[in-house]
Symmetry: C2
Amino acid sequence: MKIGELAKRSGLSTHTIRYYERIGLLPVADRDAGGRRDYDPSILIWTEFLGRLKTTGMSIQDMLRYARLREQGTHTGLERRAILETHREMVRRKLNALQVSLLVLDTKIDSYVDTEKRTHHDDNTPDRQFPDAAGTR
Amino acid sequence: MKIGELAKRSGLSTHTIRYYERIGLLPVADRDAGGRRDYDPSILIWTEFLGRLKTTGMSIQDMLRYARLREQGTHTGLERRAILETHREMVRRKLNALQVSLLVLDTKIDSYVDTEKRTHHDDNTPDRQFPDAAGTR
DNA sequence: TCTTGACTTAGAGTACACTCTAACCTGTAT
DNA sequence: ATACAGGTTAGAGTGTACTCTAAGTCAAGA
């Protein structure tokens, strides 16, 4: 698999793939006769997992820590597991915060909807003062 | 309320508060006799809401759009509501993605735990080869 | 043979959101 | 009176994660 195809399949740009290789997030790829990167399809499992870590907000620094351990082999499993467990805790907190904020957002939107209902007779007198039903002014 | 107290109460740094004012996310504050910012406590409602938007991943650009409409008064309610509804959709997607990734993370951690169980007799032969039960190599 | 498209490198540039610095000012406590 | 905590400004600097540029190489098809 050439870098272009990996880009398509992984959702990363070729620029990003080379960047990730440079910093150590992706292994240094094998090359074909012409010096071009030639990937084994199994790399997709790794890029997909990296995507998960990214989606869940792990920094490149931490991904790097994980990636380095992974390259060192199975005996680093305990440490990798610890990283993931710590990270999972972070994700859970983030998820919680997001859920709470989503509810607040719902309430806020509802209050705009209410304001709509109370003012839709007044389309021609938009300057009339109402308390901001949305509660943020 | 001086800027330092607002900082404590809002969780923003004084640097950030001044920065937000400069770009228009916070209103230009009233000043006391000595030219220092003096805030009405009601500003906290706005900073708290800004925090929600930030927590949920809204860009400063979009917060700015919202903030500008808010300063223009109640008649911008429809547009503000639209912004929030679009944003809510984004948050829902993000929440979903996070939940899926959390499950993947759980599975991955479990597989490390399993590997632990299968290898904890082997503490002195850590180089023995196992297929990577975590499935990413 | 020539063009086209995909690839290579080192290194520069960008977007975002702060975060800090320097030099100065003000009000309060000792 | 003087020290000190906390405030002011314009503008420079930082960290993160890309993203792009320039100049060149390579393989395949018309």
